[in-house]
Structures are given as C-alpha cells and as structure tokens.
Symmetry: C2
Subunit: 353 residues, 2 copies
C-alpha cells in the first residue's frame, strides 16, 4: 500500500488545527506529516497521532519530497507557494479562493463532483464554506428534479473570519455584558478599512465589496455553485443569487435556501426522503417536535444538517429550507481531507500531465 | 383643542415602557394617562412628563372615561379586555396579533395605509414588527413600480420575545463566556414545549408551528403584508413567502428582502432615490464606504434603515435589499403612537358606528 508524505500549510490556524485532527481520523496512510506555517509560528509543537511535530516556516523547499499538500493559509500564500509545491511533484488541495475559478482547477465537494478530480493539474480547490453546505444539501434535489433558481441568505459564524475575529467577537460580548464600549479592529473583514462591533450585531458584509454592490463572498457563492453543479453537464442554466450576513455566533453557518425545481411534481415529503437517504446529509425536520438544524448542535460535526423544508404555497415548484453546517469542518477541514481521501482512493496523487 | 384620556395596557413590559416615552414625545394632547398591567405589576410607579403614575390592575372598569387605549399586553389580554374598552367608548390601538386579520379591523402602518383608519370600529391593529419594517421599505417601490413577489428571510432580535427572553439570552452569553452550560427555559417561544439556548446560536422558529410547516410568525408576515398593501386597492396579486429566524442580538430586526417589481424598467439608483426621499426611511447604502444598516446603529431610533439595494443580475425586475429597524420602537411602540397621532389628527377618536 502506498504511503504519503503530507504537508499541512497554515497548520496553526483555526482550520489548520482541524486539518490535523481530520487527517488523523482519515483513511489516508500517512508516512510522514510536515506542519508548515508563517515564520511567527515556526517552532511551535503540535500533536499528530501521539507524535509531537515541530511547525516549520513554509518555504518553497519545504515541499521537497511531499506527495500531498493540504493548504489553508490564505489566498496570497497559496498563490505564492502552491506552484512551488506542484513544481516539486506534490498534489495540493487548497482551502482558499485563490484558484477556485481557474478553468483547469477542479472545485470539488466529495459526493457531488469528485469525478472532476481525474482532471486535476496539481491543484484542487475546496469551495467556500457557505457554498459547500448549500450545494451538498441541494445536490440530491438537483439530481432528481433539476434546479432552475436559487436565492440564498446566509447567517455566517465569526470563526469563518479566523481566530482573531472570533476572539474579537467574544471580547466584545464580554464588554457589552460589563456595560463597556465595544472595540472593533477586525470585523467585518480585516481586508477593509472600517471595522464595526460584531457582538449582538449583524453585519451584511463578508469579504470586500465589488463595484456592482455585491460582496466578494456573494459572488463566490454564485460562481462556485454554478461551477460545481454545471461543470461538465449540459444541465442548462441555474440562476443563483445571494446575500451574505455575518452573525454573532461562533461556529456553524445557517442558510435560508429558496430554490425552484425544474420538475415541479416534487413534493416536500419526497425532498425530505432524498435528503434523509443521502450520505453526509442529516435530515432534522420535524416541526411538531421542534426539530430543526441549529449551529450549536452542528458544531463539531462533519455532516450538513437540513430542515424546515416546505413549499412556497404560491409558486409551483418553489421550496425553502434551512441548512446548517460546521463551517470549520464541513465547510473547510473535513471537505479538504475528504478530497484528499478521494485522491488516494482513485490513485490520483501524482501529476496527471 | 380636545384633550384625551389615554390608557396604556401592559405598561410595564419592554414595549409598554417605550409606549410611555413615545407618547410623552408625541403630538397627542394627554389630559390624563392611566397605566394598566397585571395584578403582579399593580402598585409600581412610573414617570410620565415629570408626573409619577401608579400602575393599576387592568380590569373592565379601568376603561371608564378612557378615550384612547394603547395596548401591548399579549393576545389573550387584548381579546378579553379590548371589547370592554370599546364598550365603554374607547378607541384601541392593539399591538398584539389578536385582531390583525379581522375584516373590520384596520391594520395600519402610518405613511402607508393610514387612510384605513377612517373605517375603524373601535379597534385598530398594529402589524407584526417584522412586517412593519418590510412594508415600510417596500411601499415607495410598490407605489412607483408595483410588486409581484416578495421572498424575505428575517434575522430577529430576542427583545421581540419579551424582556424575560432577552434576559435569558444575556445570561446564556455570560455563561458561555464563563465556560458554563447554557440554561434554556423560554426561547424560542414560551408558548412551545422545547426550549433551546439562544446565545451564540440561531433558532429557525419564531412563535409556534402551523401544520403546514410554516411558523405562525411566517404566516403573519405573509398575510399582514397582503392585507396592508392590497387592502382596498385592486392591485392584483402579490406573492409573499418568509422564513423567520431568531438571532442572538438584543434590539433591531434585520431582513434580507428579495422582491420582483411589475415594471422592470426600475433601476437600483431609482429605488435608492425613492427610499431616500420617503419620510420615515433612511437610506444607508454606500458599499464603497461600507455604509449599510446595522442593528446596533438602529437601536433607539424610530426610522427604518435600508441598504444593500442591488439587482438580481440574472432576473429582470428582481432586486434585493437589507432592512433594519428597532423592533421595539419602529416595530411596536412608535408605530402604535403614530397610529394614535393619525387618529387624533383626523378626529377619529370616537366610535364610528
């Protein structure tokens, strides 16, 4: 059995730490694990399967002899270092937006379009967290009835903005409870100029704005959803639009997803059945017992939770649902490691051309 | 000038206290104010214009000699006591859902349909908080271009569930920050069996569920919006659907509103202009400067704040926006007192038949 030298790039971040534990629990035979991060984090020691591993500064030569890179260190680092890793023969699964929309980069949700992995050229992209859980929930519906239109509103947890943003929100919450002023230096996004308090507030900005008034996060959801669902199928048009809102919760993105199916014979009960029998999805949908997805229940889980499925009673073929998943696991680390498992399963951990 | 004997029913609640201060700042000439509440609250003293007023237990005879009742004491109390007030000659503005859908009860958002007040039979209903701010924001758009369809997702503050729910969420937040377990005894709604932690969580249930899987809150938004916009106009059909979600914030409901206009020549810039020039609405819509509505900025204000207006780029005539308002003021006390001001202005504080 082939064993793999694996490197985790960005190993000390909120997602990086989860990449280590997801890899630990995965089916991937790991010969050696390298933990790479910025100079600032080099020298830290982290555990992997009872081994203590010292974090090294990520540099081009760090990838010598590496078979598989799992990357979550920010778009700029990916742009700089992943080509170096590919040049040295590694296959990279990247958790940033750096390569997602490039034509020769598969954008993969395992269980939905992992057959795309066969076409990789060294880099595979992990979709945006809010895209993954929506597409995962919609896919069985898309397969059976087709989908014409998607309108999504997100309720996104602060951990998606990184550990520092998460800490900032918790500090603000404590300040409010102490009747002190809330200091804001990071959220809604470190990349923009103005910062607003997040605790006990709602910020309708995730990532920066485009000139058309949509945020970059909203366009990610629109473009990535189309790329994943329509990739090599002539499935016709899917209209997608999104509003992304950051909410003061720690882990677990919520989404209200309004969708119109092509075959309007679909019923709520049939959609519930399809969700229930799909691997990786958990149906939590019993209003009479107040059963529905909640971020506090989804945190720490790999599945995507779906509930509140019901028809728009004035529009044939239109339905709504409420989708929740752990943005650090389902939306990031678990999806990345599952892509790596598919690569190993299909013997694709090598340069394909 | 006629002066009015006014009674506030439910004077000690979160909305009741705001009714007192809104009445204080209103144009209504108050001859005498009676503060009514449950037996438990009787004897408390509250201030109105430097007077100290003792809260009395609300009973049928409390309304003897009262001209105008502002009521926010819960649906069951309204059902029991408002007919007694009407019998004694008073005109009642009710802030519960008890009478909203009755044919002979005007359901009023001042500035939108206050002409309906002329048809009152003693009781006027204040719409649901999440309905008011959405209809207020949509009305100038509806007037100029017509509206065919509305799809709304709400982000509702816990103060909408009352003071005890609000305190419960703050206590849970402190417990989480102390790494203690979260106790839940009220939310999502005291009226239902199961209770879940709200701090750092999202609960897609407001009010109880109907048999069709929609919550009562969602049906309120659907039916009330149609009643307010379509009341005595032959304006055709408006399709409305809603998903209502409680979020861990204190004051200020957020809403993502997707709407399709009839006249698809409308542009984002024209919609922004209409919002900006409408009294009671504040346009906060400059993505380049990160200007958009936020609950922490709306709390304590009477206006409805509108931003993130943009076209769905794949659907002609479809737009999205983000609407925020103080649910206790705009969504309750301010709307109630503005209705009373309209009644006084139009000399309608008397039984009309």
């Amino acid at each position: 059995m082939r064993e793999y030298v694996v490197a985790i790039l960005g190993a000390t971040g909120a997602v990086g730490q989860r990449l280590i534990s997801e890899l630990e629990q995965s089916s991937i035979p790991v010969k050696k694990l390298k933990l790479l991060a910025s100079k600032r984090s080099a020298g830290k020691k982290l555990k992997f399967k009872n081994q203590e591993i010292t974090v090294e500064e990520a540099q081009p030569d760090s990838f010598n002899g590496v078979d598989l890179v799992l990357s979550s260190a920010g778009g700029a680092i990916s742009k700089k270092l992943l080509p170096e890793a590919v040049k040295r023969g590694a296959v990279c699964v990247d958790n940033t937006s750096a390569y997602r929309m490039e034509d020769d980069v598969p954008l993969v949700v395992p269980g939905v379009n992992d057959k795309e992995l066969a076409n990789h050229h060294g880099i595979i992209a992990n979709p945006n967290c809010s895209t993954i859980q929506m597409v995962a929930a919609l896919y069985p519906i898309y397969q059976r009835w087709g989908i014409k239109q998607i309108i999504v509103s997100t309720y996104q947890a602060v951990s998606g903005a990184g550990k520092a943003a998460w800490d900032e929100m918790l500090n603000q919450a404590q300040a409010r409870l102490n009747h002190q002023d809330l200091k804001a230096e990071i959220l809604p996004t470190a990349a923009d100029k103005r910062h607003y308090p997040m605790a006990f507030n709602l910020l309708p900005q995730i990532d920066v704005f485009e000139d058309d008034g949509y945020t970059h996060e909203e366009w990610k959801m629109i473009h990535e959803t189309k790329k994943i669902l329509l990739n090599d199928q002539n499935a016709g048009e899917i209209k997608v639009t999104a509003t992304c809102v950051r909410v003061p919760i720690e882990i677990g993105h919520g989404e209200t997803v309004y969708f119109v199916v092509k075959d309007s014979s679909a019923t709520t009960a049939e959609i519930q059945e399809e969700i229930a029998k799909t691997s990786g999805l958990v149906l939590q949908d019993d209003p009479s017992k107040q059963v529905y997805p909640q971020p506090l229940l989804a945190a720490g889980k790999r599945e995507t939770f779906v509930g509140r499925i019901r028809q728009d009673q004035e529009n044939d073929g239109a339905f709504q649902m409420w989708v929740v998943a752990d943005n650090l696991l389902r939306g990031a680390a678990s999806n990345t490691v599952e892509i790596a498992e598919c690569l190993v399963r299909d013997d694709l951990v090598h340069q394909t051309n």
